[in-house]
């Protein structure tokens, strides 16, 4: 018997199968516009990878913004799932900084991955993966270009606007002023980091801090985060799958209890 965690996020959907010892398989797909369908497809894919069928799944927990669209045994919020997933990978973690496609979260952890407190961003896209993605269009770069560009930057430019749309206009003005692409890429990453660290400051930044979510793959953000925190956040090998992993472990616990 196996247990499945399914995380339907705004940008990507992840399914993980675990048994009573280890991870059996995982699958990751872009979310698209139909969370119900993508949930089904990702589940199908992961079962196929593990050479299993739906009837082999003893318990399935869905999480992420599309969790109520999935055919799951139960739904659990992404906050609890992130906490549980991180605790499984990095047991000493005390804080999780998760920047996803549509929101950012700060989770303060107690013993055994218990959530003590959490904060989430407001409705604006600033401080999320979506913001970074939007700005790539303005800067005519790819997401993976942020890392090298940030390291080349020599001038610190601060984007004064906290709103994603106004920040875009500001960026356009800065381009017109002839500012260098690398400095603008750094300004974008800096604004995201500033925004999430303000959120984290509401709880107070606690070490060891684990960085998860799609944005944790962005080297530009990691570089600036290190500078601003004065220490390196811990990044799991695959920061995109932690919520689904947590969901799978919760599924196993629920099934056995």
């Amino acid at each position: 018997m196996v247990f499945v965690g399914l995380d339907i996020g705004s940008q990507s959907t992840c399914a993980i199968i675990i048994n009573d010892k280890e991870i059996v398989a995982h699958a990751l797909m872009p979310s698209g516009v139909n969370p119900k369908q993508i949930g089904k497809e990702t589940l199908h894919l992961v079962l196929e990878k593990a050479n299993l069928s739906r009837s082999d799944v003893q318990f399935l927990i869905a999480t992420g913004y599309g969790r109520y669209q999935a055919e799951a045994d139960e739904q659990v919020s992404e906050i609890t799932c992130q906490a549980r997933g991180v605790q499984e990978l990095i047991p000493e973690a005390r804080m999780v900084l998760d920047i996803g496609g549509q929101d950012s979260k700060i989770i303060l952890l107690g013993k055994n991955g218990r959530v003590i407190d959490f904060m989430m961003n407001d409705k604006c896209a600033a401080g999320t993966g979506r913001f970074l993605e939007l700005m790539t269009q303005v800067l005519s770069i790819q997401l993976e270009d942020y890392g090298p560009l940030v390291t080349q930057s020599r001038e610190l430019i601060e984007l004064s606007n906290t709103c994603a749309i106004f920040a875009e206009s500001e960026l356009v003005s800065l381009i017109a002023q002839g500012k260098k692409k690398e400095d603008l890429a750094r300004a974008v990453c800096h604004s995201v980091v500033k925004r999430v660290l303000t959120l984290a400051g509401k709880i107070s930044i606690t070490r060891p801090l684990v960085f998860t979510g799609g944005v944790a793959k962005n080297q530009g953000i990691i570089t600036i985060l290190k500078r601003e925190l004065s220490f390196a956040p811990l990044v799991p090998p695959n920061p995109l799958i932690t919520a689904a992993l947590g969901a799978a472990y919760i599924a196993r616990e629920k099934s056995l209890s």
């Binding site: 913004y65 739904q75 659990v76 919020s77 906050i79 609890t80 407190d117 989430m120 409705k123 509401k202």
Partner: protein, 411 residues
Amino acid sequence: MNLKTSTALSLARFFANRKSLFHLLKFYEWWLKRKFSEPTLPQTSYQLTIKTVRELYSHSRPVIWSSLFFPCEFIHAIGAIPFYPEITIGLVAALGFSNIPLESAEKNWYSQDLCSYHRAGVGMSLLKLFPRPDCLVATTSICRGTAGFFRSLADIWKIPCFLIDVPYQTTPEANNYVKNQLSSITSHISSQLNCQFRWEDAFSLSNSTVKTIQQIEALRKQKNFAIQPPTKNLDYLPYYFQFLGSPVSKLFFEKFLFHLQKLEKSPTKFHRLVWLHLKPFYPNQLTALLNEYHFDVVYDEFASVFWKPLEPEKPFESLTNKIISSQNLTVPEKRIDRVLHWCDQFQADGVIQFNQWGCRQSQGMNFLLKNTLQQKGYPVLLLDGDHIDKKFYSEEQLRTRIEAFHEMLEG
């Protein structure tokens, strides 16, 4: 504004200014009484609302507009009809059209950063949809923005506004300062409306209603039952503020007590919550989510009795005490002490505050509030949004926060 909305507004304004038409509501009230000989609590509340609408718009007595923390016993004592724009704007939002007055205010240079209670109140006045006031009375407690709000209203309606400046301190000098202002506006209003203040009845009704409220509080300490069904501000707010000191409030709370006494203790395990500030009035999923995740609001901050019994022989001293003690909601150490006291008394499992966009009074102390409560072992959830302006509402974000808070309490 499209043609349909514009026509509806013109019609609404036409009817709102036809006093005689509202007398016809008497027939509807009579029919309701006949149909519901033993009305439920919501039905009682509905009938009282219809009666109030008739009285306000038919202008059967002078209408005095007041800010939320101006004691309504003052208005009942002169026999006028109290009207609280900050409460009524909640009704406008509940009916789903607060966007119209909000837009009207914004078009007239009232910034989106202003509190939406005030913005929408100004908008309803600019549109002349609220009942015309004879005069305005307000205090700067608990919100300093009220002063500007009421000055704007006075300018729109071209009527006098009597504003009581309330100091933060509770010194004898502060008491005298407020008492002198109250005494002065009493004589002004008395001569302006040509009415006499009769404190005895209003104070006695208020005191006896407070005793009923205290009985309700005692029951809420034991039972899993919030001021609901459902948990809506409008189900209790007018009776704590607008009608206290009148038979309306007394009738409502007696019915509520009776209703509560009959309730059986629920077998379901609920998470007992103290609720700070108000909740969104516009149609939203908050109540449904609280129910879904087995949260029970056992105490509401705005339903607290914070004043001493009123003494008719010392009217100004009594009302001064009520006004000044309301400032405790804005002084961090006093407010936090009170919240801790409620948490203890009502055996709360956690605290939720629904932050109102632009509200400095409640949000200014969020850090202190959250830290202190957490140190004492009470988890706190701060929800950001707006009670009146639906632009700031996101159901999915609300669900995730409520759900995660529930999971946090479950451990």
